[in-house]
Amino acid sequence: MSTEQARSARTKGEPLLSVENLRTSFYTDKEVIRAVDGISFDIFRGETVGIVGESGSGKSVTARSIMRLVENPGRIENGRIMYDGEDLLDKSPKQMRSIRGGSIAMVFQDPLTSLNPVYTVGNQIKEALRLHRGLSGSKATKEAIELLEAVGIPDAHRRVREYPHQFSGGMRQRAVIAMALACDPELLICDEPTTALDVTIQAQILELLEELQEERDLGIMFITHDMGVIAEIADRVNVMYAGEIIESAPVVELFESPKHPYTQGLLNSIPGQGLDENERLATIEGDVPTPNEDPTYCRFAPRCPKAFAECDTVHPEPVEVGDDAGQHHVSCLLYPEDLPTEEAVAVHREGGQRGGDTR
């Protein structure tokens, strides 16, 4: 979990999951909405990668695309999702079913809707064990009890026979995590797993995830809109805005020196950060736009306090910033900082021509 550890994991070895230039669009009568528009990131073993952004920025669609759970009218149009040397987008639905819940598991926001109310919690864990590991009968029950104990549910022998409604919110989320762990996944995708919980329960769940990660060397993709949670759990953070990753950095670096004007605005709008008590909160003007056309401009420009003319005509490409080589990337025409604006814009213009569709 520690950043050094994650960094050493980064320098050696292949990433566990590598998303390249992913684009997922939704086809409505009126328009094509590019919910996820050309994003790339890696997740390494034992590392927690955070994805933050406001509602509608495409965080959840990213998770669903990785799991291939995008439903009509949504389509994954472009890109690759490399896992274990293979592209998940080339898998058949049957192959995907064995990966889902097998080596990649997902925890959703609302624990009540991800549990079936008419089966006992034990039954639902056993279902996963039967499908993915071929366990059944008393063996499966024993394994289910062990899993519930592993996620810190007291009195697991009794609890395994109870129904979801008999569990409290925090306990339900633990049960969902136990289910996700049933098949010893390598990658855990958590989509706002603590948003519906109280802070005290949230603290327990975050602690649990950290422990499990250390024990099992899990790669975790953690989606949230809560900057506090991200600061606590993530090793690396990707900031999403209108379907694009606009900044990506190790967690400490991101909070200490955010580069993109949007990230800066987002961090400044959190109450209670050494702000003088009578000072007003900083706000970002306007609303998150719907990404419905080609990214030929900066989607944040209309709300950006630092926008200039080129922001409307040149699409910003990720450029390296900061001292730490290859760790911190930002997509903004203001960077690289050491170049005069015109040259910096030229860098982005050229970068835009190199990239292209692969699918």
Partner: protein, 299 residues
Amino acid sequence: MSTTSTEEERTTTARGETILEVNDLKTYYEDGGLLGSNPVKAVDGVSFDIQRGETLGLVGESGCGKSTLGRTLMRLEEATAGEVKLNGTDITTLSGSDLKQFRKDVQMVFQDPDSSLNERMTVGEIVREPLDVHDWKTPSERRERVRELLETVGLQEQHYYRYPHQFSGGQRQRIGIARALALEPEFIILDEPVSALDVSVQAKILNLLEDLQSEFGLTYLFIAHDLAVVRHICDRVAVMYLGNMMEIGPADELFDEPANPYTHALLSSIPEPDPTVERDRITLRGTRRRAVRSRPAVR
């Protein structure tokens, strides 16, 4: 808020302007059993007061009774025992025209802007409804007032004929606030008004609430579970746990030196937006004690 507001607070206290006084308030939900009832004690003997012009924060985990307390102060729930004095009159026993007058003075803004606005009414109708109900002046003056209110909360006049679904979450919450302001209340109960919003939108609504407070001299009871928000906006904070008030005090004092161990644990579990902070967390083990059986949806 630290020094200035404590001074402000002192001056208001010196003027003796207590707007709301709550004494040993209890709200129980009966379980309807025939033999020996075992009520859910959602609010169980709470006493506090609120000074004119201040913002009192009310925090606690879900199910601690904070929303029930807010609803009881609004007379949306009947109090089982105790009294609530608004400007010196006990409102728990009001009826008829007195109750109607009281409803003008106290308003509420709800958590979920999706479910607290009628989807079939236009924004103008929604904001005008309280004026219609209370037969406020003439219809044309009402329409004028609604336009004024929309502008006050940062919406535009042409939004009058639109429907709630055409608005974003932050804008819907502005509509809810405009509706609450319509009858010029003195006291507004804000029940988790920003919990459903993104941080950047949340910041705008918090700023708006602060502006309105200084413009109209409003008094707020701010119910929330986000403690950073509470610390930002509130002068004093009260902490509730299982229907009881554990601690009440000036926001900074309470956050810096919590006296009650529960408050301490609650505060230590807030994730801070700073990855370098060394955490000294007290994780509360287990879930809350079941002090009450079969709790109904206490919201």
